[in-house]
């Protein structure tokens, strides 16, 4: 969907700058005119640029943005597979995370610079997509951290009281045992390839 408000603002900004270009001589001759030039040629474009980048950063966290590269299509399809054990599918289908930001919710670190790291990794993805080439097998940059799971599951009753979790709590929090050592299937690609998808009615 087009960012209509952003487009209108940018068009208006360009139009204002064109007017200031035409009227630069007469505006420069008066005090009020100089203030208009200052606001129109410095403040306004900077404000629009900040708004534009802010919109872009927000947009880059959305599911459709991640899936806009064809390499990610299969991962996108894995959200719909008919497998109650597949983590991506369970979280998406049961609305355990916001569907609009489902990739970002699980694949960004919740540390101090988690957002920045995720955006920098996004730049690496764009570099790979357009310049360096996408690796044959898409893998994570590092082992999936338990802290990402615990960010939400930390105080969940089902997690805390789960008989399988209790003896492992310390190891899970220390990161010495990965959540994925039991919850093995993150994206069920086999079912994606087999076309076994869950259909919402």
């Amino acid at each position: 969907m087009l960012p209509v408000q952003l487009i209108v603002a940018l068009v208006a900004g360009i139009a204002i700058m064109a007017l200031l270009f035409a009227g630069a001589r007469s505006l420069g001759a008066q005090t009020v005119g100089r203030i208009v030039l200052l606001v129109g040629l410095l403040g306004l474009p900077l404000l629009l640029s900040v708004g534009n980048i802010s919109f872009g950063v927000h947009e880059s966290s959305t599911t459709h943005f991640c899936l806009s590269c064809h390499e990610m299509k299969r991962h996108g399809m894995s959200l719909f597979v008919d497998n109650r054990q597949a983590l991506a599918a369970v979280h998406y289908q049961n609305r355990l995370v916001d569907r609009e930001t489902v990739c970002y919710s699980c694949h960004k670190d919740y540390a101090l610079f988690g957002d920045v790291t995720a955006k920098l990794n996004g730049l690496r993805h764009v570099w790979a997509h357009y310049i360096a080439g996408v690796p044959e097998k898409i893998t994570l940059y590092k082992p999936y951290p338990n802290s990402n799971c615990l960010h939400c599951h930390d105080d969940m009753r089902r997690f805390v009281e789960g008989p399988a979790h209790r003896p492992l709590m310390d190891a899970l929090y220390a990161g010495t045992t990965s959540c994925l050592s039991c919850h093995r299937i993150a994206h069920d690609m086999a079912k994606v390839d087999a076309g076994q998808l869950w259909q919402a009615h």
């Binding site: 960012p3 900004g13 360009i14 064109a18 030039l37 534009n52 997509h129």
Partner: protein, 71 residues
Amino acid sequence: MADSSDERTTRRIRRAAVVGGLGLAVQLAAALHWTPMTFIISAAVGAPLVIVGGVMFLAAVWRNMRDKGAV
């Protein structure tokens, strides 16, 4: 009639407006076709052009003030 210093300042301000406007135009083009690549072009080309335009404008004002002995 404006002196030559004012004429030069006007030309410089117009150049700044063109560069800044170009930056906004790049950002507009990116917003019309929003993809990861156009976002990066918007942030890496459009926004810096706007900043360069702003700096050119401030430099034009500074030079004008200096020419007139205001600073």
